[in-house]
């Protein structure tokens, strides 16, 4: 494992851990800037910690929209996330616990 993970990365991973998400989904749930989210996703996918999958074409066809790309956490990603969390705990850094609440107002 390379460098220690930053807060934004851990937040993005936490969201993905709870729900399989697409890009703007994560932006809405975390309040991070889209640029940050996209580059974080690319980096995590190269490391093999998250796994990007294209939505089933039939679903997209039915809704007459382009196929979305969903991201889920891999087993290695889960391990890395737990390590990072416990490190934050040691350092006394609190992660936003109400990430899901951010969704509440989203109307989804």
């Amino acid at each position: 494992m390379g460098r220690a993970l930053g807060v934004a990365t851990v937040v993005v991973m936490s969201v993905i851990e709870r729900n399989v998400c697409y890009g703007l989904d994560i932006v809405n749930r975390t309040g991070l800037l889209p640029g940050t989210v996209y580059t974080t996703l690319r980096r995590l996918e190269r490391r093999g910690w998250i796994d990007g999958r294209w939505e089933d074409p039939a679903t997209a066809e039915a809704e007459r929209r382009p196929r979305r790309r969903y991201y889920g956490l891999t087993r290695e990603g889960g391990v890395a996330l737990r390590t990072a969390r416990s490190r934050f705990e040691e350092l006394g850094i609190e992660l936003p616990a109400d990430l899901d609440l951010a969704v509440a107002g989203d109307g989804e």
Partner: protein, 905 residues
């Protein structure tokens, strides 16, 4: 599949932007990213959102695209650079081939030598905890001479084992060859006599049976047990599981095999097949061999205690060694010796100082050639760089960054180096086997302690050698590429595109040649150092070949054999036996003459004390003189072709019943009879059969060089075999035809005389003499080869430089020509530049070689390490080569038509 896209301008505009920025993403990912962004955009447009959100999203997309572009650049452009480099190299195959072959040769040679140096000098001995393994040397210093290494006796060894505290283990070994007679033809096998402690100390273990133990400790009688190697077990015993208990016959004595050593252990000399305990030597050699404190015959190894230092051990050994003379009073004649013990790290005891110096000299030579090759490659790249200034300028003006350009050029030199390195590794793979065997033969023999110097089997391209080659390749590529790359990339696009060149009045350092001049100076200097070394070694080889050995080596077959104590016990008298062999061989067709005596250059030698001489009445046992002595058959000196100065050769009538006689060499006479007239006078010899009565001097011969041709002649004495023979002897046979052709009939005659015996080391005297000088000859050959390559590279480098300079100065030369300068004056102008740097290089090289050739001291013969005539010749030769290399391009370059040259400006 067509999604229903909203048609508002913001969405259309956003989709167009996504299409544009997707172009930044590397090809493989482009479509995927674009689809993802579009899906996201669709989601954004389909849900209520404000303009700010759209802007944030779009800038996120741009950011994402840019970082994908950066990532792709990192991954891809390296490959792209390599592809580009390969393409450029294909366009100039001549340049590429020259560079790659040069690099392959020098990287191949360096890697080959590195693998050998690694094995011989750097690799730890293959024993457990090699850094605690030491050799304990017995040292003696006869009065008026230097302290020199000697051998241990068993009682002293036992005392030392009891008293020494710095050593966890100690063990003794003595290398022997014995005749194996059973199961087929007699064969000579390599045997090591050892103390029971030795094999376990070196990590050997038994695959069958056991190694030596308490049973084989000396208990006052011979223990005739043996341990054999896996190779012997396979070769001679057919891998029988019942090997333990088998009897093998060595030197006609029965040994019982008690164990087979695990595969891979081949003894300290690397060739042993059988191990026997010291106590068996009581029967093999001498019943008192383990009791007589002055019967010295073995070396001692030790393993230091974990907490002991080598200095502490050495001090303890020195104290013990200093008291040897008082504890064990020496035999008469040796009372005035000083004694000591020395401790040497095992790794340092392998080979001798000379072998290691040769290795280092060769390795240095090859690295110097590599340096020249690097400088040459740099020169070539520099010239190409200059030729490609326009290309560079175009690329810079199109927006290529200076770093980008630098990287491209470095990639090019690294690609060249890599191709050269690959080829060089192949060459090394081929060369390691050949050169390794050659060097181990020529350098390994002179160790003195019977320790293996270099195991040719162990020479392979292992990870260390591979790493070395890789580092070398990378280093060469970077070094050769950096300078020209920097210079080329420091391009002002304007100047490059205008086609501007350094023309008239440009001022550059180093006689106007810039960094290329500096490189030529370095190359010339290095070549001079190499040539000086090669010329020294060549002179040494010539001197060695011209040395008058004092005997004629042409058409002479030499061989040895040895009677065993068992033969003597069976009543065979060596004197009678040897005489009969000689008589029979003399009768063979094709034999002109035959005799028994010491075989020069490789045979066993004996030395004895001369305890008194009528020529020096003051000579008492306390002021003895050491002399090399050999028992010979009649006619031996005549057969050798020795120069008989006075008196006569040993004759048939000099037998047991007649007066003891001796023939002395000139140096011995000068020592023993300072006033001359030795004939008829008597000397007292401590030689078996001569102790009771003195020997009468009946002849004087010119000195002979019986060992290395380069060694100083020794004092020599020849006595009649019939008056004091040894069980071991050499056979010398002068033949009418090719010496080796007679060997089978000689072996047949030997078989007829008596017990089964094998001839050892049968070869012509010419072969023997060649083997004795192989070290300087190999050094000469290799140094000469490297020097020749260096000289060639210098010539190529100089040629290239002058051709380049002439091309560059063409407008200036044209201008001068149009102003009336003659061709000769133009030629001189150009040559002066090239030869100027050559001269500077020669001066630097001569200085360097005065320092560097000192390391060849001890390897040269008949010349000092500073050889003014040789240096002068080398310098003149190099200057001549430089003149030709510079003249050819200068001549064609100065043949300019002023009009054409100036038009180009």
């Amino acid at each position: 599949m067509t999604p229903g896209w909203p048609t508002d301008p913001a969405t259309r505009w956003s989709r167009r932007l996504i299409g544009v920025v997707a172009g930044l993403v590397p090809g493989a990912l482009r479509a995927e990213r674009r689809a993802e962004w579009e899906a996201e955009l669709w989601h954004l447009r389909a849900t209520p959102s404000n303009r700010g959100e759209l802007v944030r999203f779009l800038s996120g997309v741009v950011w994402d695209a840019v970082s994908e572009w950066k990532e792709g650049w990192r991954m891809e452009s390296m490959l792209q650079d390599v592809r580009y480099a390969l393409r450029t190299l294909r366009r100039s195959p001549g340049f590429a081939a020259a560079a790659i072959v040069t690099l392959a040769l020098s990287i191949g040679a360096s890697t080959t030598l590195f693998s050998i140096v690694e094995e011989a000098v750097l690799t730890e001995p293959p024993y457990p905890e090699p850094d605690r393994l030491v050799v304990v040397d017995q040292l003696f210093q006869p009065a008026g001479e230097e302290m020199r290494p000697s051998l241990w006796s068993y009682p002293r060894y036992v005392a030392f084992t009891d008293e020494a505290t710095a050593f966890a283990e100690l063990g003794g070994y003595a290398a022997r060859t014995m005749t194996l007679t059973e199961l087929g033809a007699p064969e000579i096998v390599s045997v090591e006599a050892v103390t029971p402690s030795l094999l376990p100390m070196l990590g050997a273990s038994a695959r069958l049976g056991r190694l030596f133990g308490p049973e084989e400790e000396d208990a006052g009688g011979p223990v005739m047990n043996a341990v054999v190697s896996s190779g012997f077990w396979e070769r001679r015993m057919g891998r029988t599981p019942n090997a333990v208990g088998t009897i093998v016959i060595l030197d006609r004595l029965r040994f019982q095999v008690v164990g087979v050593v695990e595969e891979g252990y081949e003894g300290l000399g690397g060739t042993a097949e059988v191990w026997i305990p010291f106590s068996s030597l009581r029967q093999v050699e001498d019943p008192t061999i383990t009791e007589d404190p002055w019967n010295q015959y073995f070396h001692v190894l030790g393993r230091l205690m974990p907490d002991a230092t080598i200095e502490g051990a050495a001090e303890e050994a020195r104290v013990f060694g200093g008291r040897i003379m008082e504890r064990w009073p020496p035999p008469p004649g040796a009372e005035n010796m000083k004694s000591s013990l020395g401790v040497v790290r095992f790794a340092d005891a392998r080979g001798n100082a000379g072998s290691k110096t040769s290795m280092v000299a060769l390795f240095t030579a090859v690295l110097l050639v590599l340096l020249i090759a690097t400088a040459n490659l740099a020169g070539l790249l520099l010239a190409r760089g200059a030729a490609r200034r326009t290309e560079a300028a175009v690329r810079v003006s199109l927006g290529a960054g200076r770093v980008r350009l630098l990287r491209q050029l470095l990639t090019e030199s690294l690609t060249l180096a890599f191709l050269g390195g690959l080829l060089g590794l192949g060459l090394a793979d081929f060369g390691i086997g050949a050169v390794g065997r050659w060097l181990s033969e020529s350098l390994g023999t002179a160790g003195g302690r019977g320790l293996e110097f270099l195991d040719p089997e162990a020479l392979t391209i292992d990870w260390r050698v591979f790493g070395f080659a890789l580092a070398l390749t990378a280093g060469v590529g970077l070094l050769a590429g950096l300078l020209p790359a920097w210079q080329t990339s420091a391009t002002d696009p304007g100047e490059g595109l205008r086609g501007g060149r350094t023309t008239i009045g440009s001022r550059r350092s180093f006689l106007g040649l810039g960094s290329r001049g500096a490189m030529i100076v370095a190359q010339v200097a290095i070549a001079i150092v190499l040539l000086a070394g090669a010329s020294l070694m060549m002179r040494t080889t010539l001197n060695l070949e011209r040395v008058d050995l004092g005997f004629e080596r042409e058409r002479m077959l030499t061989a040895m054999y040895s009677l065993s104590p068992a033969d003597e016990a069976a009543g065979i008298d060596p004197a009678v036996f040897h005489s009969e062999v000689v008589e029979r061989v003399r009768e063979l067709p094709g034999v002109i003459a035959a005799s028994a005596g010491e075989v020069p250059m490789g045979g066993p030698t004996w030395r004895t004390l001369v305890l008194g001489s009528e020529g020096r009445p003051e000579l008492t046992p306390a002021h003895h003189v050491w002399t090399r002595i050999q028992p010979v058959s009649d006619g031996h000196l005549t057969l050798l072709g020795a120069d008989l100065l006075e008196g006569r050769d040993i004759e048939r009538t000099d037998d047991e019943s007649s007066e003891r006689v001796v023939v002395l060499g000139r140096s011995a006479v000068e020592e023993l009879f300072p006033n001359g007239r030795p004939l008829g006078q008597r000397v007292q010899l401590a030689w078996p059969g001569f102790e009771e009565q003195g020997a009468t001097v009946v002849g004087v011969v010119e000195d002979m060089r019986l060992d290395q041709p380069g060694a100083a002649p020794e004092r020599l004495a020849f006595v009649s075999m019939r008056q004091g023979a040894q069980p071991e002897t050499g056979l010398l046979i002068r033949t009418a035809g090719a010496p080796e052709a007679i060997l089978p009939s000689v072996e047949a005659e030997l078989g007829k005389v008596g017990p089964e015996l094998a001839l050892t080391s049968a070869m012509s005297m010419e072969t023997r003499a060649a083997a004795a000088t192989i070290r300087p000859r190999v050094l000469t050959l290799l140094l000469g080869f490297f020097a020749a390559v260096a000289l060639f590279l210098v010539a190529v480098g100089l040629y290239g430089t002058i051709a380049y300079v002439v091309a560059q100065r063409r407008p200036e030369l044209g201008l001068r020509a149009s102003l009336g300068a003659g061709r000769v004056s133009l030629l001189v102008l150009v040559l002066r530049q090239g030869l100027g740097v050559t001269l500077v290089g020669i001066v630097a090289g001569v200085g360097g070689s005065l320092w560097a050739t000192r390391f060849l001291a001890g390897l040269v013969f008949g010349t000092g390490t500073t050889d003014p005539a040789g240096l002068l010749a080398v310098s003149a030769g190099l200057f001549l080569v430089a003149l030709i290399a510079a003249y050819v391009p200068a001549r064609s370059g100065t043949r300019v038509d002023p009009a054409i040259a100036l038009r180009a400006e």
